[in-house]
């Protein structure tokens, strides 16, 4: 047999492709997907649309047999002039920004520590699991006792170093920092674990090369660790910010939004408006404003992530 070269057939056009043999696969995929999709449509899309509908209505659920009344955009207009709403916007933004920033700074420090010198990584890891294992509701109630002004452990501890007892959760200026502190306490491990995992996944050779080049620890962190960690940091910030916006349990148990309205996060305000004052339409309007705002913020992060 002699060797043949490829350029032989031209004249006839190639035969048409037969029907693909993947019908079964397609049907299987659809059957596997259908229940979850149907369930999500019913349980997350429908409620959202229903909530949008409610936001254009006025309805007090507590009055028996009452029906929602169409009032157009009045609920939204009212929000604009509502000082409680704007107070809540402010409290929420401060809460999220401060909490996530502090978590990030401390978490980065601990992650660097845990991945470098400290031999006791196993211990640090175990200890840091504690806050994660406590249900937020338990954490809130527990910290409430720790912050207790007359016999709380915190006032006792600062008394040891000569600082006078503080009001904490009873004080309009200290309540929000206290709540933020608990949020930081509970989520610092999350940030630390994620950053530590990110750092450990970086190529070790780069660090050796940088050390051989004579870079200082700070230079290595600034010029190598931080840039390489950027995708992880963005994911982390996105998740942390989204979750900080969701915080409810801690405030609900520690302060219920008080004293006054100094710790009234948006989730707390919506809860109160809907389930304490039963202004369902108003609460729905707040929910939608809240949703859209969060959506825009996360889009920004997702867009940044996509660029990476």
């Amino acid at each position: 047999m002699t060797a043949i070269t490829p350029e032989i057939t031209q004249a006839q056009s190639p035969p048409p492709v037969l029907k693909q043999s993947h019908r079964g696969e397609k049907i299987g995929s659809a059957i596997f997907l259908a229940p979850a999709v149907a369930f999500l449509l019913l349980t997350s899309v429908y409620p959202l649309i229903y909530s949008l509908w409610l936001s254009f209505h006025s309805w007090n659920m507590t009055i028996p047999n009452s029906q929602p009344v169409w009032i157009g955009t009045r609920n939204y207009e009212r929000l604009w002039d509502d000082p409680d709403f704007w107070n809540s916007v402010q409290v929420t933004l401060i809460f999220v920004l401060v909490a996530v920033t502090v978590e990030f700074i401390f978490g980065m420090g601990l992650a660097l520590l845990a991945t470098s010198r400290i031999r006791a990584m196993g211990w640090i890891r175990t200890i840091m699991l504690f806050p994660l294992m406590l249900a937020p509701v338990v954490a809130g109630v527990l910290w409430r006792t720790l912050f207790q002004s007359s016999y709380g452990v915190i006032n006792w501890a600062i008394g040891l170093v000569g600082i006078p007892a503080q009001e904490w959760l009873g004080s309009p200026s200290q309540a929000l920092p206290a709540v933020i502190a608990v949020e930081v306490w509970q989520n610092l491990p999350v940030v630390t674990f994620i950053l530590a995992a990110g750092i450990q996944s970086l190529p070790l050779d780069l660090y050796k090369a940088a050390q051989v080049d004579g870079a200082s620890s700070w230079q290595i962190f600034r010029r190598i660790t931080l840039p390489l960690l950027k995708p992880v940091i963005l994911v982390l910030l996105l998740l942390r910010i989204m979750d900080a916006f969701k915080v409810f349990d801690i405030v609900f148990t520690m302060t219920y939004g008080g004293p006054g309205q100094t710790t009234e996060l948006m989730s707390m305000l919506i809860y109160k408006t809907g389930f304490k004052f039963f202004q369902v339409g108003q609460a729905s309007a707040m929910s939608w404003v809240f949703l859209v705002a969060i959506f825009i913020i996360s889009l920004f992060f997702i867009w940044r992530l996509d660029k990476e």
């Binding site: 349980t43 527990l142 389930f275």
Partner: protein
């Protein structure tokens, strides 16, 4: 400017000064770390010790940091309180059932999404939608849920809570399982195809057994979510289906009088989480980041 051209400001290695500064720095670092670790660990320590303290020690001033007297009364009293044992049963039923359904529905959906038999547009659209549902704060759908559950006469039932938790757990399970399925070497599945397995056989006989660790981890996260959830539980239940988080949150109005019982219940609440967390440690970061960081 490259890192190499910078002149180091610290003392050169080899000088005595260099070593002393390094040592002092290390000691300070250790002390700081220990201090932070004490703050992080203390609440858990306080929760558990307080649950075994006698009433006088529990609210003593100055506080009793290291208790010397122990009692089980707090646990006994907690269970004597009306509704507490029922709440535990409710929590267990709701958490197990919602975990079961979330894991099954979620991993099936994730498997279908991980395969390329559906068009890319459909899969990408679904994934983005699922991600978006994860972003929404639960409180924003609290009101419609409340109204819908009331209209369906499902208020204060396990069913209502289970449905809610499956809805909130599904996006999480789908994303996490998607990651596990995509991590699987594609050749294994090809081998199964060539061996003649149908779609279902492949999932049942090859993929699912391989994904078992992932499945276990995912269901642990789903369980912990349902177990700890407060907002919907407090909203959708009042008596019959009341769960433990609602009971715990109820203690705040009682102030200091029942700290012992509160801490006892809190301690019991941690136990299943503790057991599961030990199992999921390896995949902790993955779970915490919604599968984004594989840790």
């Amino acid at each position: 400017m490259s890192a190499t051209t910078m002149t180091p400001v610290r003392p050169a290695p080899g000088t005595p000064n260099y070593h002393r500064r390094k040592q002092i720095g290390a000691i300070l670092l250790y002390l700081l770390t220990i201090a932070i670790m004490i703050v992080i660990a203390f609440p858990m320590y306080w929760l558990i010790t307080t649950s075994f303290k006698v009433p006088a020690d529990a609210t003593a001033n100055p506080p009793v940091i290291i208790p010397t007297r122990f009692t089980l009364d707090n646990y006994v009293n907690a269970f004597k309180t009306a509704g507490v044992s029922r709440a535990f049963v409710n929590s267990i039923v709701v958490a197990l059932a919602s975990t079961f359904f979330t894991t099954i529905l979620g991993s099936m959906a994730a498997y279908a999404l991980a395969k390329s038999y559906l068009s890319y547009a459909i899969r990408r659209g679904l994934m983005i939608w699922i991600l978006v549902t994860r972003i929404f704060p639960p409180v924003t759908t609290a009101i419609p849920y409340y109204v819908i559950v009331r209209n369906l006469h499902l208020g204060d039932t396990h069913t209502a809570l289970i449905i809610t938790y499956v809805a909130y757990g599904l996006p999480f399970v789908i994303w996490l399982m998607l990651g596990f399925f995509q991590d699987m070497p594609p050749e294994i599945e090809k081998a199964a195809i060539v061996d003649g397995c149908s779609f279902w056989q492949r999932f049942r006989r090859v993929i699912l057994p391989l994904a078992l660790p992932g499945l276990a981890v995912t269901s642990i996260f789903a369980f912990i979510y349902s177990w700890n959830e407060l907002l919907y539980a407090s909203m959708l239940t009042s008596f019959n289906a009341k769960t433990i988080p609602v009971v715990v949150s109820g203690f705040i109005s009682d102030q200091f009088l029942r700290w012992g019982e509160m801490t006892a219940i809190g301690t019991l609440m941690v136990i299943p989480v503790l057991i599961f967390a030990a199992g999921a440690q390896r995949y902790l970061v993955r779970g915490l980041t919604f599968g984004a960081v594989k840790g």
